[in-house]
Symmetry: C2
Subunit: 324 residues, 2 copies
């Protein structure tokens, strides 16, 4: 173990400073540089590199694979912002808002190709395997995005379908990163599978917590309450509430965000009153707890010595904003 | 040599019948199946496979690489149709028109990933090399598309910039296919480079001819005259005419397609009168002839026996609609 969460992030950030594109055509490459330098927590490459380190692999050699997952993640943001008509990203104008849809589309395409270019730099003996993990992961992310869009035209989403959607849309990129890291470090098939499970459960816990904080977060922490409610987005809270509501209450849950006769605060209050009635906060917290504990429990079953997993555990706690 | 142009197309078409995607999510995969079964001449896989055969490689083993370039080509069509707001493709509604921009975007992304999945099936020893050729080719296609869009907001396009654009946007996918084919067959570096030049020149000849037929084609052959003129598209004819026109004539060339006081036929007549005045037909035909002859000449310099290149020559003649 040569790194911890902080030093591995620093290592990756310094590798990111080397990120370069051709200068021309400017409208293709400027948005890519803008996107890659827009900050973010670099969760996926950090998880990938921490996994490499935990299994005794060569972290520096794994940097291109880390770049691949980070560039891929940013590609999805460019295209998601087109589909969601989103003008802001990380507190800055989105590429879509700044340059328009065509630029975001084509620059995004190019980023997906650049991700594969980085991937091609993994050792030849592992390339085939890594490529397949990466492409399967990438496909799941697209499928997850489509399921999410499908939900917009569905009367009622079932909890298991919702969980599957976020497993694809959010967890897949984390679990793919963990598997790539373990594979690069030469971990056993069993350990690779376990790292997949660790990151899948962690990703679910993370997304469910994100859902919950939208309604029950602390506004003092800068989190604006009710954004998902106002957008009429499916969340685990909404899915739970719908499953317990009467037909009349379902209609309220479905339509309140579209009302024009009441204020945003009133809309949020109406929906949250139903959330409270069905105590969806509690059942969501239960789910988060179960998923998070499962993730941590997987770490104990890895074939490597316990102290080697400490930074992965810290990664998980940081992600969930939890001290030990 | 086991194949000719016809039998290799049949072989590829039968491989294409095996093309399958998951069933769900339907809005992600139905457009992909629709796009892949929409016909087209399969030029890129045919060139790839003919090249494999010419160099004595295993054509059947190269089928996944052929699928990769065909799926990639169809991915570019889905995204180009969004950017061009194009409702028709190969005489059918485009995916963009049929399902909307978000579906065309996400299904297109998935096709790019599927292309890489096929590519991952080339023999491990060659994977690294093939992957790099493919990604470089894919990047050039995106750059070409951006240069083409850049031209829309430029007062005057220079001939060399126009040629560079079509080299990227049209030739790159042909030259990449030829290089992949030659590489798979174990051709020498020198022969790979020559196949790149063959396909690059052929692609330029093909695109320039396409430009010319828009103004000087035979309407009896089903080609509607003047489409490029009415869209105000840059073509080699336009670029040539602009370079020779007076400032007043340039303004006519720039603005006629936007006029609302005259009919389409009148617009076409005005622009073509200037094309005729500067005899751009002749200079374009010259360019086509030079590029086509250069392409054929490259074939004679390959290290393989002359009769092995006969199907590549026929491919070139077919593409240009020329009998021997």
């Amino acid at each position: 173990m040569k790194y911890n969460n902080d030093t591995i992030l620093k290592l990756f950030e310094s590798a990111l400073l080397q990120f370069q594109t051709p200068e021309e055509p400017k409208l293709l490459y400027d948005p890519i540089v803008y996107s890659m330098s827009g900050g973010g927590k670099r969760l996926r490459p950090v998880l990938l590199l921490l996994t490499v380190d935990a299994f005794g692999g060569d972290v520096e050699e794994a940097l291109p694979a880390g770049m691949a997952v980070e560039v891929f993640h940013n590609f999805t943001l460019l295209h998601d912002d087109i589909m969601d008509n989103a003008s802001m990203r990380r507190g800055m104008p989105s590429v879509y808002a700044k340059w328009g849809g065509n630029v975001a589309l084509l620059s995004g395409d190019t980023m997906l190709i650049i991700a594969y270019k980085y991937l091609a730099r993994v050792p030849s003996t592992q390339l085939h395997r890594i490529l397949n993990i990466f492409s399967d992961m990438a496909t799941e992310v697209c499928e997850g995005q489509q399921y999410d869009m499908d939900f917009e035209s569905v009367d009622m989403v079932f909890a298991e379908d919702y969980i599957k959607m976020i497993e694809y849309k959010t967890s897949a990129l984390l679990s793919g990163s963990a598997m790539i890291g373990a594979t690069l470090a030469g971990a056993s098939e069993d350990d690779i599978r376990k790292m997949y499970r660790f990151a899948t459960e962690l990703g679910l816990a993370f997304q469910l917590q994100d859902d919950m904080l939208d309604s029950y977060g602390d506004e003092k922490l800068g989190k604006k309450i009710g954004g998902d409610i106002l957008e009429g987005k499916q969340t685990y809270l909404m899915v739970q509430a719908m499953s317990r509501a009467s037909e009349e209450e379902r209609e309220v849950l479905r339509t309140t965000h579209r009302r024009t006769d009441i204020s945003d605060d009133e809309k949020i209050a109406i929906v949250k009153a139903l959330y409270d009635k069905f105590d969806v906060r509690h059942s969501t917290e239960q789910q988060i707890k179960i998923r998070f504990e499962r993730a941590l429990a997987v770490l104990d079953t890895l074939s490597i010595a316990g102290e080697r997993t400490s930074q992965l555990e810290e990664f998980a706690r940081n992600l969930m904003g939890r001290k030990k």
